[in-house]
Symmetry: C2
Subunit: 421 residues, 2 copies
Amino acid sequence: MTESVLDYMIRLGRAARDASRVLARASTAQKNQALQAIADVLEAQSEALLSANAQDLAQGQANGLDAAMLDRLALTPARISDMIAGLRQVATLPDPIGAIRDMRYLPSGIQVGKMRVPLGVIGIIYESRPNVTIDAASLCLKSGNATILRGGSEAIHSNQAIARCIQKGLAEVGLPAAAVQVVETTDRAAVGALITQPEYVDVIVPRGGKGLIERISAEARVPVIKHLDGICHVYIDQAADVEKAIRVADNAKTQRFAPCNTMETLLVHEQIAAQVLPPLADIYQQKGVELRGCPKTRDLLGTAVVAATEEDWSTEYNAPILSIKILSSLEEAISHINHYGSHHTDAIITENFTDARRFLTEVDSSSVMVNASTRFADGFEYGLGAEIGISTDKLHARGPVGLEGLTSEKYIVFGDGHVRT
Amino acid sequence: MTESVLDYMIRLGRAARDASRVLARASTAQKNQALQAIADVLEAQSEALLSANAQDLAQGQANGLDAAMLDRLALTPARISDMIAGLRQVATLPDPIGAIRDMRYLPSGIQVGKMRVPLGVIGIIYESRPNVTIDAASLCLKSGNATILRGGSEAIHSNQAIARCIQKGLAEVGLPAAAVQVVETTDRAAVGALITQPEYVDVIVPRGGKGLIERISAEARVPVIKHLDGICHVYIDQAADVEKAIRVADNAKTQRFAPCNTMETLLVHEQIAAQVLPPLADIYQQKGVELRGCPKTRDLLGTAVVAATEEDWSTEYNAPILSIKILSSLEEAISHINHYGSHHTDAIITENFTDARRFLTEVDSSSVMVNASTRFADGFEYGLGAEIGISTDKLHARGPVGLEGLTSEKYIVFGDGHVRT
């Protein structure tokens, strides 16, 4: 292209802003028809998608991408089916837009309430997985937002092929092409432009590794919905049911090692440690989990447990490693979590009502659980239908972010010629 | 002080973070008792407050502050009574903290809902009015947040005197002194430190002129709840009731000239202009309002109306000046408001249901009104009890921000040993 990257991004931004006005007043039926139309086009164009993806994969191999990167980049017939199913599922979710709540008469005679509205234009910045293009576009479209999508440069052919399917679907139902725009340049200046244009972009959702998210958060002049770390804890209280404690602590660590809602540190009250830790250590060792413990833990479990360092308590392993600490009170557990944790997801295992109530109130995390595995912290498991990500920010959306997190509310006021005196 | 300003602010931040944990679990009764205790101390210490304020006023006069600045700075017995009444009123408001909503069983068997919690630590940066110290502290305290208050250097003695009253009240009910901290240095580096410490400060609320807010927004690494401009519109639709149109357009401009919710631009449909504009022009001229109009407006009202420039449409006068534009459609009015407005408060005057519905849906502002004066956009008038400010941001809080805007929600999950499969 002959225009500069900045001019190109401003052009995209302006078009997105204009399209957002049209989407904000689009009917639920029209948005659902668009989602179904895009699903139909993806079905018809599966071959084209696979061949565009083959180009990206070949280039990725030539560029020496590792196996994990290539796996994330790959589209398969099964993954395309999942994308199509995802679109059709979002079409079945209730439309949050236009909902009016709490209309009340005030002493002056005016009637005041709130109406749910789209945020406007959402920028999504992500890495190699091409399916994010469809997941993010579908949630933004359903919530009445225009989207500017910037995927990884290694997925450029796949993302452009998906973009053509989206454009075709939008055109079929008469929605503007700029409702969903996929950035066509792989120039990194495009990201810089996207995150510094509050006049055209209302919020950025970064999806990817911690490095990407830290960089975007540091440089953005647009609000960012994000989480950085998932240092999740399970605390086995003095009053825990031993069987439930073992079941949950096993699942929270070993069901999958990589997700952000996997437990990284197990906290155990000293009064119950001798009952729960030896059987748990057997399970973890069978499943190949390396254990790192405080001195009391090593006294109990032996020196097969590595000595945990200060750094372990604030490390997200995303791997078969678990740090374990034995504590002498609930207060100590709450302090440890608020100090070392990442405010993502933390659980207490207890049969004691007061301990559960204190943990729920005092642990300052986006999800706080009693007698359930941290692995449940997820938009689908919470009944949101789908999620665009998980937020550990305190403002706006916190925890798994579904359609509602992509909306705002404005005040509406009804009068009959009322004036202020 | 011998420590650096940065070290001092870090010390305040750490203390605030610790205090915020105590406040988060404080009972409603304890918070209300603190508010009443602070009110009692203010009553007992009125003389001390007035004499501290006299110091600030004398210094302000010596420094050549203008009459308007000195008026904002002044405490009077009536203003102290208002502060005391404000504290007692906030004590009567319902406590938002701890409310649990939407607990639902999911197919996996877990029960998921949301609990309302404080944001944590709120930094308030304001200018000369010392009463902001009490208003802001009371709302933050009631919503379970620790506060760091940084007032104008010209009000330092008044603010320190108020701070001593707050400290005394907090101590009486056993809440930590760091629940409300007033910055003791007038060094501007303190503001820079406050707005760049996300580890200690969760949100900044700036209260003051546009210059202050722009500077803070540009430099902050902490989220800011704010509005910059109040370019509010009244649109008199073709289907307006003439009597209501005149009443509302008069009130929206002339009830007070300075507030952010005062109308700055009047938009009129061409089919009704000849009926409403001549009588309105008479009213405005009687009340000393300068009119600036589009060519059609000047054709109708004569050359006593100044020709409006492009700049007039995006100017917040905060003064007895009004720009007027005659338009040929509702679409044109909505486009004008979304383009030139500040997304603060805009009203339509109409008897037509469909026009009202379109205006409510399509105008992208924090408050949108039908047949009511823009002057109603205010926390008290909306029934929030009190407000910490008005937000035109789309994320988190939008419109007048009361206690709920100073809180967040976290997900809570109840299980019975549930694990993810």
